[in-house]
Symmetry: C2
Subunit: 516 residues, 2 copies
């Protein structure tokens, strides 16, 4: 990477000029004469500073759009820094950040020190690294790996560079490493645990590669974006909350890793995945957590051994970071429940809280909730699941969920049928009698995303059959919902090309084969 | 990466509007209404097509800079596609290229088929992949590696997607994997071989991470940018040529790999490095080649075993691609000769051709040239070096070099002293009497680049001492040249901080130590 080692920065004071130009990433427009002053190479980016905040921006050159001494801003830099026409900003040449050497070191297969990891995270936060350089780091981490020690340092660095929340009483949480569509269990577990009297201030993420993250699903029922104190207040008042972690500013470096590299390349390097989860929890002041590790064909974890190995890493990291962790290995070979996509999942979660929901969803929810009840001592070992189940069945969980929804500014009396879903629909039918052999996570995910999820809340997939279920020819297998006809078309074609549900008759094969 | 699987492209015809906006990468400005028509997500790029050529571009949104139905172009798309105000272009949504799945496959550790590799290379050429996606591929190649079979496919794909040159007579070439500063041997070897009557049409590269590539150094003496026929004509007329491969359009995918990812991340994955070299040679119609593998501390190859292993791969690939290859392992533990940087190296090469040059440069040049003479049968085994040496000493090589320079539009009578070098200078002096223990390649490179090389042709480092040389305190060790005082300052400070030349006295240590 840039060998501009320790070049003297060469600052330039400029006045902001409003430009009618919007970009998806930080971009500025400079007059040629200022570019000459900065001795910028064609592909060189610069650091824009306002007070003590920096951001690395690409440069567009112009002769007339902005005059010498002016800078035009795109990519909502204005909002981010609260700038307006005439505000002063400072431009400096990138100083060839030392973090770049640290990234190179990891790419070269070496172990990083606490200081080196901190430098990388700081430069990520300060916008000093290009997404290409961040990709170098994360792919280095993916292929070279990290020691538990390094993961701890990365976690601490991400926590230290963000907002920290703390509660005076014991806190409980549930988190999943994801990878299974339809996994809306948090919308059941949080109210169950809160109803039991424990404090469960859940911060969750939006979907990275899935059709709906917990935050996406919850956003259908209530607000999920809160300032740290609002979040804390709601959680303490109601006993539970389900908000989007992104708005709280917890471990912001993690959000940048995800946005700039992990989502576009759809990679999720294990070490960073672990650090990401732990950092958010440490920053949110969580002390006890049940970790859901979905396992099975098409899940992130296919074999029990790798699941247990990963569980061991989480528990060890929890020990180092003072979080009491219990991992639950759950069945992740097919979607949880029947609904996939924000609105559809919110509907299914609500129906289940109201008493009529699919067994897979209920069982997974009460089992994991049960582990939390046992960790807290509320239930004796082995009795947590039943206690959770009775809290759900008694309607206390539903009552608590209404409080949470109200606390987060939603309508507590919302009915499942009130929740709007995409008006464009297409149904996939069984081509034969038989039994459902397999429901493939990856295909269900691809179809739901192509239908518009998670961006379009009403988009998704409603399954009508799960594995083992007997099906008659012509019966519906699944229904696709979309908010845009063009997206429905794409999703439907994808479903026809790669059917997510495979059937087989009772007669599996014939031997000897007939000669044809 | 994008799960937009097989979404229907949604083409939009637009008229080019001239915009006073210059970017370093392909960028267009669209009116919000057209962005809505294309259903573009904020971070989504689109394919711009003119006739049958495509390029993937990022999008800036505006309300007023361009009207509905218009498109503003930045990043010399105009020149590239020969467009002007009012020309018609077509925009289509990216169709979720299959190559992205192939890249993912390599990142996941799998072996790619010929077809998959071809798809990746085609989409790179067509501008369908982001630099982040290309980085995913190259880092996958770096860490996962490639089989010889895959490297052959990659080489062929890069050749097939570019210009091919062929000669009716036997062709000879010399190439180096690089990594050693001051390696201007091609400027001696080409004229020596051409003077011997063999055809040596050398295409060379500009510096990627070094202070001067052969093309950079040659560009000081003559033109190096030619169209394929011009290049062929010059080579056939004079018997030799030294031009920049980049202008010829040979294996253009390789140029994109280097520009978009390898240079910015300063990585050089072995498989791609091999494919890159071989593709350029196959495309240039080379049939016989001597490959220089510099070996030693601070060179790309530190141990003989790895050098021999790499040599084996090149020879095997040469066999598959019908190029007769002989590898020469050379000493690369310190710079070749004393001059580092385009102008300084051109001076030294010229002086050496004129009869007064450093031994290391002369010996390396005639040894490698000798191997070519032996391959051609002009010299018997073991006599090539002496034949090359006499061609050099007789002045025939100089005479031939003048013809080459003239053939490439340069001044054949140029004197070393005519070559302009940076007017800003700084000298580093010895702080003690002693012997030069080490001259570190990486530090010499960093200093020369910070001084401005290779961009500033006059910038670089002139060494006054090589390993083993006796030095008195106060004698100059090296001199830094720069075209800009600001760059000289940076380079000088770097040299003081990381002295590239280390001395030691005759008394190396004392035992037992005195107690202090």
């Amino acid at each position: 990477m840039s060998v501009k080692g320790n070049e003297k920065p060469f600052p330039l004071k400029l006045l902001v000029k409003k430009l009618d130009l919007v970009a998806d990433r930080p971009l500025i427009v400079l007059n040629n004469s200022d570019i000459e002053k900065l001795e910028l190479d064609p592909d060189e980016s610069v650091i824009l500073s306002v007070k003590n905040r920096n951001i690395r921006v690409s440069v567009l050159a112009t002769k007339s759009l902005v005059k010498e001494g002016e800078v035009g801003l795109c990519g909502n830099i204005e909002e981010q820094f609260g700038l307006s026409e005439g505000s002063k900003v400072i431009l400096t040449k990138t100083a060839g950040f030392n973090s770049i050497r640290c990234i190179k070191k990891k790419m070269d297969g070496q172990t990083l020190t606490r200081g080196e990891i901190k430098e990388i995270v700081l430069d990520v936060i300060n916008g000093n690294l290009t997404n290409l350089e961040i990709a170098g780091f994360l792919l280095g981490v993916k292929y070279v790996g990290m020691t538990v020690q390094e993961v701890e340092y990365l976690t601490r660095a991400m926590v230290e560079t963000g907002v920290k929340i703390s509660f005076d009483k014991a806190t409980y949480d549930k988190h999943s490493i994801g990878g299974v569509p339809g996994n809306k269990v948090s919308l059941l577990i949080v109210p169950i645990i809160a109803a039991s009297g424990l404090l469960i201030p859940k911060t969750s993420s939006r979907a990275i590669t899935s059709p709906s993250g917990t935050a996406d699903t919850m956003s259908v029922l209530a607000e999920v974006e809160f300032e740290p104190d609002e979040f804390k207040e709601i959680a303490l008042k109601v006993g539970g909350a389900i908000v989007w972690g992104g708005k709280l500013g917890l471990a912001p470096a993690d959000d940048i890793f995800i946005r700039e590299v992990e989502r576009p390349l759809s990679i999720d390097p294990e070490s960073q995945m672990i650090a990401s989860i732990m950092a958010k929890k440490v920053a949110a002041g969580i002390k006890n957590m049940v970790l859901d590790l979905p396992m099975g064909k098409g899940a992130k974890l296919e074999r029990r051994e790798e699941a247990l190995k990963l569980a061991g890493k989480f528990v060890e990291l929890g020990r180092r970071l003072k979080i009491n962790i219990v991992c639950g290995l759950t069945y992740g070979g097919q979607p949880v429940g029947y609904a996939v996509g924000p609105a559809l999942e919110a509907r299914e979660a609500l129906e289940t809280l109201m008493g009529k929901g699919p067994t897979s969803l209920i069982e997974k929810s009460v089992s994991l909730a049960g582990l939390l009840l046992e960790m807290s001592g509320q239930a004796r070992r082995g009795y947590g699941r039943n206690m959770a189940y009775s809290i759900l069945k008694s309607g206390r969980a539903l009552k608590k969920m209404k409080e949470i929804i109200e606390g987060q500014g939603g309508n507590p009396d919302v009915k499942p049928s009130d929740i709007p879903i995409g008006e464009h629909k297409a149904v996939l039918y069984a081509k034969m009698d038989g039994y459902v052999k397999r429901v493939e996570n990856s295909k269900v995910v691809a179809i739901a995303r192509k239908a518009g999820a998670p961006r379009d809340k009403g988009a998704g997939v409603q399954l009508y059959a799960k594995e083992g279920r007997k099906i008659r020819k012509g019966q519906p297998l699944l229904e696709i919902y979309s908010e845009r006809s063009s997206k429905l078309t794409g999703a439907y074609e994808l479903a026809l090309q790669f059917p997510p549900i495979s059937l087989e008759g009772m007669l599996l094969d014939v031997y000897p084969k007939f000669i044809e």
